[in-house]
Point group: C2
């Protein structure tokens, strides 16, 4: 293929202009291989704001966009339960597709999407997830270097207030891809699979729904067994008491300093955050938050909870500036360069795949395998036993 | 029963005067209900030192002690594989027994010991374990208070250099109760079971043996499912690269500041610690270490790795001074009084049980249940699936 400089820009439309959709605009603008052409959102206020702010065309539905706008690719950032129909529609129109995580509300949906992309000969990429974060990528490169030996254990903890942030009803409904195991586990399992090589074998888990005023899967304990003998655990607790940023020198998910839990005498705001809201209030709060929820230009590396990677000859974990590596020789700090945002990495991987410069890591098969772990965790909790996995794929070599 | 002041002291003999045995001497001396009368050790140098230092009788075997010394109780701190025979012997002589963890080299042995104590009508206590630590005890009291709601998740990480410390061969042999899952998991599972109420249901785990120059179970990832719906994970890595004291403000297992992992340029000593030793060198190093391995009078609370307890309405974890509790009201520091050593708590529990003032928590049945989790973790790793538990007991109410 010709180099990026001589290729026409990939014209892209965004379906669903909420937190995830908006967060991708800077990365799309920053990549000269893409041109943001149109957006789709059901809310007229959101459409009008997008037209004013970004000078793009705006449509009420994907069908309208496909009928009226010339695009080469679609980024599907709508509610998860809509992903299947929208991805099938986009593939049917031979558009490349980037689909937000969780990939779909069910494994069946995800597999249908992968099959449709294959049949249409288009790229299907799943992202953003925190496995795109520069420190996770650097951990994988260290592992590939071989000096640390095989990965044997990956353990990750993430404690946030996920469950009490403004939510649409579908974000709290497992059947529609809601709850922390689907929406945040999809980050954790993507990271774990990337670091352990992809071929998970079985899952044992408990999921928890312990606030009756905010019923949803709000926490989980997940054990993942890998075919090569590695094991991983993913702990998530979204009930907002303890924050794992306390274990990460205060650095949060997007690389900003996070206040963590205030002392007990400054608690008015914390308690207030738990007050039930009407669906309308939640939606308005979500729309207001969407503009600021995922800021860019962070002073630190993104830090999605605390992850310790145990290899045969050493350990790796994150620091605010990069990685810390522990070997027989001692402790070594590995600063990472102020990196392109994780979403810039998504756009680069998408573009490389579209232009056939490099096969995507986070393709449909990879996304299916991540979603299978999410579903298996929920199923294991219900059944009270191990769930074997059937749709796992190995990490594709990138060199 | 009459009060402690009017009871004659319980005369106690220690079998095995290594690290564990020696570490109990201050706690025995500090409890006026006990009188240390005799010790047993196969090494003449150790016996002679004990006679000189503590003015006790010293014997080459438990048989000799039982024949010649008047004791009411025996503390069995010998190599694990000897526990069964020695406990059966002590019970046969109608002596109360405190047995070091792991309770035995196999569940069968442990059950035989419990049965023998029951038949003889004597107390059988298992300890020390870190579940006796004051912060763990305080966590249990907070849970019993009920304000935090039910315990739902307990997650604990411990990263040390356990595998490279001086060892006898039996300490590295699973069949003899060796390796970290038996010897250090027994701490973790005791803590987890205490905090979750005792009734574990099943275990899923991977154990690891990844240094061929020091073959033993040196790390594990263990998922424990509880009958009431709680779940716990215990991660242990004894390969000495990363130290979890880094996550505990530098406080180690016995409440002392621990240096953690030195920087890569100060590594001579760290690399030297890995050099293989002859069995004789290891034994000498162990005997030298026994006098200092477990110091008393720590400036901080004992801190066996990092444990986060997630309850329905809040979280608990340790600080160097006590506990931190996270609730809707915010973060609260709960300092704990400079506490009696964990071993003083063991002696108090043993004495209360002998004098029938209070039934022991860490009795033979509790110890069997802890050991069952150890064995199940090893079995789960071999079989690659869940192992159901059959010998679990609920935590006994203490009030």
């Amino acid at each position: 293929m010709s180099s990026a400089a001589h290729e026409p820009a990939v014209r892209i439309g965004i379906v669903g202009f909420g937190t995830a959709g908006r967060a991708f605009v800077p990365a799309i603008h920053a990549h000269r291989g893409f041109a943001l052409t149109a957006i789709v959102d059901p809310a007229e206020t959101v459409r009008r704001a997008a037209v004013d702010e970004f000078g793009v065309a705006a449509y009420e539905s994907l069908e309208a966009l496909l009928e009226h706008a010339d695009v080469d690719a679609i980024y599907v950032a709508s509610p998860t339960a809509l992903h299947r129909a929208q991805v099938l529609l986009a593939c049917g129109a031979r558009k490349h597709v980037l689909v937000e995580k969780p990939m779909a509300a069910s494994l069946d949906d995800a597999r249908a999407m992968t099959a449709a992309a294959y049949a249409a000969g288009v790229v299907l990429l799943v992202g953003h997830s925190h496995s795109y974060d520069a420190p996770v990528h650097a951990m994988r490169e260290l592992i590939d270097g071989g000096e640390l030996g095989r990965v044997r254990m990956v353990n990750t903890w993430c404690f946030t207030d996920w469950i009490y942030r403004p939510r649409r009803a579908d974000e709290l409904d497992t059947q529609q891809g809601g709850g922390v195991t689907m929406r945040q586990g999809s980050h954790q399992f993507d990271i774990i699979r990337l670091l352990c090589g992809g071929l998970a074998r079985s899952v044992r888990a408990r999921t928890f729904d312990w606030d009756p005023e905010r019923s949803a899967i709000g926490a989980h304990t997940v054990f993942v067994d890998f075919a090569d003998g590695a094991a991983a655990t993913a702990i998530y607790n979204g009930y907002g008491h303890f924050f794992s940023t306390e274990l990460c020198e205060g650095v949060g998910e997007w690389g900003f300093m996070s206040p963590g839990r205030p002392a007990a005498d400054a608690s008015t705001q914390a308690a207030g955050a738990r007050r039930p809201r009407t669906p309308e209030e939640e939606l308005l709060a979500k729309q207001a938050r969407a503009k600021h929820a995922i800021p860019g230009d962070a002073p630190h590396q993104p830090h999605f909870g605390l992850t310790i990677v145990s290899c045969e000859r050493g350990e790796i974990r994150q620091s605010p500036q990069g990685l810390i590596v522990y070997t027989d020789a001692g402790r070594t700090d590995l600063p990472l360069p102020a990196s392109p945002s994780p979403r810039a990495r998504v756009m680069a991987e998408f573009h490389d795949a579209i232009c056939q410069r490099a096969a995507a890591v986070h393709d449909g098969h990879w996304g299916v395998a991540n979603l299978e772990v999410c579903e298996a965790a929920i199923a294991s909790s219900i059944r009270g036993r191990d769930v074997e996995l059937k749709h796992q794929v190995a990490l594709r070599a990138q060199r």
